[in-house]
Symmetry: C2
Subunit: 137 residues, 2 copies
């Protein structure tokens, strides 16, 4: 119920929400960059493959935690991006962990289809230094 006399808050666009919905105890632990973002490393839950790196603002993290659907902040489109919303290549979130600095998240997911927009299972396909040949004996 609205408090009598309270200002009537306008519903803003998702890119500039009045409230992100993120738990204040979590929000207080984040160390965001100048654009308000933290790094999100996305890893397959079943085989440990690192799939991609994306970015989250408070709203993206709040939505990810609340829905279990990996949601990022698109720096190119400047909008929330529910992974797979158009491609169908969704990421069901199994766990989310914050690093010791508070500026990076590890998102472990069940990936549907390829993670990369190129159609590759992972975005990390351009090998600069291959695994060296192992010598035994």
């Amino acid at each position: 119920m609205r408090r009598p006399g309270a200002a009537c808050a306008r519903i803003g666009p998702v890119s500039a929400p009045l409230s992100t919905g993120l738990d204040p105890l979590i929000a207080a632990r984040l160390k965001r960059d100048a654009a308000g973002l933290v790094t999100a490393v996305v890893q397959r839950h079943d085989n440990g493959e690192v799939l991609m790196v994306a970015w989250m603002n408070d709203a993206a993290l709040a939505r990810t935690l609340a829905t279990g659907e990996a949601t990022y902040w698109s720096r190119s489109r400047q909008e929330l991006w529910v992974k797979g919303e158009t491609s169908g290549h969704r990421q069901a979130v199994r766990s989310v962990a914050l690093d010791c600095d508070g500026d990076a998240l590890l998102i472990r997911v069940d990936q549907t289809g390829p993670a990369c927009h190129t159609g590759s299972p992972t975005c990390f396909t351009d090998v600069l230094r291959p695994k060296p040949v192992e010598r035994t004996g």
Copy 2:
């Protein structure tokens, strides 16, 4: 041998090298942020654990590729940082891969000791959303 008449180049600090030593073909594929950095995701080679996120400039990547010792750019100290140089918790690089956008690297390593400065094996210890209980049947 120095070419006669060539200007005698002063040896600059590692933070502002005259040449980074990075292969120009690799340098051309990098998409750096405003600070000249790309994201480096570090993963254990043997068990797939994601250990940490760090940052690399061209010189850090060049040194990593040339020496096989993971070397980052310390944003707090503004200098090259050979991982484990003081702690002994070094990272022997097994492979380096660039992502489809050219702005993130996946560094797979053999980790000596804990990766995190807190003494934890990984920096991602602060679980925000635990793995949900699985139901079968």
